[in-house]
Amino acid sequence: MIAERVSFGYSEDLPVLHDVSLTLHPASLTILSGRNGSGKSTLLRLLSGLLSPSDGTIRLNGRDIHALPPPERARSVGVAFQFAEDQLTERTVAREIALGLRALGIPEFDRRTSESLSAFGMSDFADRHPYDLEPAQRKLLTIACALSSPAQWILLDEPFAGLSRAEINWALVTLRAAKQDGRSIMLVAHDPTIVMSEADRLVVIHEGKIALDRTKLEGFSYEHITATTAMPMPASLRLRMMREKELKAGG
C-alpha cells in the first residue's frame, strides 16, 4: 500500500495533510501517532479509500485505490473506526462479524465467524445485540470484524481507547497472529508507548506532515519522540522530571 505525495483538506480553509508519502509493507505492524487533530484519522480514511486525496494517489498492489471496484477494495482493506457506534449496524454480534464475509461471498462464513468469536472470547455473546455489550467489548468487536475479513491491509483507528491492559493484550495476540499470516496492520494510537514493544515501525504526524518515520524501536522512548517531533511528553514523566529538578535545586 503506497501513499504518494498525498494532500487533503476538508475545505479550502481547513487543510489537514500536506504532501504525505508512506509505504506499508506486508507482515508488519505500524503505529500512526500524533497530537489530537494532527490528521491521523484522516490519513487512515484516505488509505482505506473512504476519502479521496485532493492531490497525490493511494495505490494498492500497484493500482489506484479509487479505480478498484468497491467489493475489491473491501476485500483488500479492513477498517475499524475510532467510535464503534459509527460502524455497528446488525442485530447480533455474530451477524455483525458475518456481515462483511457474507457480502463478499466468502465461503464458509459461518465457520469463520465462530472462529473470530472464539479468538476474541466472544462466543458467549454471539446472540447479543452489539449495543448491549460493554463499550470495551464493542470496541473489540470492531477489531474482530476488521480481522475476520480476508483483507491484507488492516487499518484500526485508536483500537485500544477505553480498553484495559488485559483487553489490549488480548487484542495484541490476534494482531500478532494476523501479522504472522503476512497481513499489514496500521493502528492509530495517540499514546504510542502502549504497543511500542509489538510494533515494527512508528510514524508520527505533526501539522499535516510526517515528522518521524522509524523502524528501529528497541529502546526508543517518549523522550526521543518528544525530541524529534512536537509530541508532548506524558504527564507522569514530566512530573517526575520536575520533582527531580526540585530535589536537585534543594541540594
Binding site: N36, G37, S41, S164, E167, P232, A235, L239, M242
Partner: protein, 271 residues
C-alpha cells in the same frame, strides 16, 4: 456531613440479571468535591454515572435499589428521564451529545442554554467563557461532525458545561485525549470547575484522575477501595490487575508519596 450528592447502598441490575452491575455502593460528594472512579470495563463505572444523571430512573430494563439524593432530591424515583441541568453527563461516546440540529459547536451550546432555561441575556457571556475555558476557540465555529476524536471530546464537554450544572459526571473523558489535552482538561477541572462537584471515571490512570483527592476503585460492581489519593498511592501496586497504571507506577516513589499539598503544588507547576 452530607454533601451535594449522597449515594446510599446503590444496586443496579439490568434485565433481571443475577449479577448486579453495581452492588450496594455508598459514598458522598460535597459541592466542591472531586472524586475519581477507576476500574476495568464492566466494573460498573458507567452504570454509576447513568444512575446519578437520572437516565436509568423509571426504565423498565433496570432494577434500582438504594438511593441517590442530589440537593435533597431523590434521583432514582423523583426525577424521570434526566437530572439535567442539575447533573451534566459527558458520555463515553461524546458525539451522542450532538443534536445534529445545529451547524456548529457554538450553536449546539446555545441549544443547551435554551434547554437549561437560562435567561437569554446571559447566553453570550457564558458561551464565550466556556469556549475559552475548554480551549475550543480554534474549532467552535466548525460543524460538530467535522471534528477529530479529541476535538469531539472537548466540544461535547463545552456543550454540556455551558449550562453551569453543579454536578458534573465525566465518563472516561481521556480516552481520545492526547497528553497535552489531558493536561488542559486537568487545568479546566482545577481552575474553572473548582466550585462544582465532579465525578470522573477512567480505566487507565491519568492526570485528571490524580488531580482528585478522593479515589474509588471499582471491580465487578463493588468498591474494592475508597479513600484519599495518598492512601491510593500507598496501595498502588495492589490495583495493577484491575487498573492500567500507565507510566504512573514508575512515578510513585518520586511523586506519589508527597503530601497532598505538595503533590497539588507540583501538578500546579505543570498546569
Amino acid at each position: 456531613m452530607d454533601g451535594n450528592c449522597a449515594v446510599r447502598h446503590l444496586t443496579v441490575r439490568y434485565n433481571g440479571q443475577e449479577t448486579p452491575a453495581l452492588d450496594r455502593l455508598s459514598f458522598t460528594l460535597g459541592p466542591t468535591d472531586r472524586c475519581a472512579v477507576v476500574g476495568p470495563a464492566g466494573a460498573g463505572k458507567t452504570s454509576l454515572l447513568h444512575a446519578m444523571s437520572g437516565i436509568l430512573s423509571g426504565q423498565p430494563y433496570v432494577d434500582l435499589q438504594g438511593s441517590i439524593t442530589l440537593n435533597g432530591e431523590e434521583v432514582l424515583r423523583g426525577i424521570s428521564g434526566s437530572a439535567f441541568p442539575l447533573v451534566a453527563l459527558l458520555p463515553q461516546d461524546p458525539a451522542v451529545v450532538f443534536s445534529d440540529l445545529a451547524p456548529d459547536v457554538e450553536s449546539e451550546m446555545r441549544l443547551t442554554l435554551r434547554q437549561a432555561e437560562l435567561p437569554q441575556e446571559q447566553w453570550e457571556e457564558r458561551l464565550e467563557r466556556t469556549v475559552r475555558a475548554c480551549g475550543i476557540g480554534g474549532f467552535s465555529r466548525r460543524h460538530p461532525r467535522s471534528l477529530s476524536g479529541g476535538e469531539t471530546q472537548l466540544a461535547a464537554l463545552a456543550i454540556l458545561l455551558v449550562a453551569g450544572s453543579p454536578v458534573i459526571c465525566l465518563d472516561e473523558p481521556c480516552s481520545s485525549l492526547d497528553q497535552e489535552r489531558q493536561v488542559e482538561l486537568s487545568r479546566l477541572l482545577s481552575a474553572t470547575l473548582h466550585d462544582r462537584a465532579i465525578i470522573i471515571t477512567e480505566t487507565t490512570l491519568t492526570l485528571p484522575v490524580l488531580t482528585c483527592r478522593s479515589i474509588m476503585v471499582l471491580d465487578k460492581g463493588r468498591a474494592i477501595f475508597q479513600g484519599t489519593r495518598e492512601q491510593f498511592w500507598e496501595q498502588l501496586s495492589e490495583f495493577a490487575e484491575v487498573v492500567d497504571l500507565g507510566g504512573w507506577a514508575e512515578t510513585r516513589d518520586a511523586i506519589g508519596l508527597l503530601s497532598a499539598d505538595d503533590f497539588d503544588r507540583l501538578v500546579e507547576g505543570l498546569l
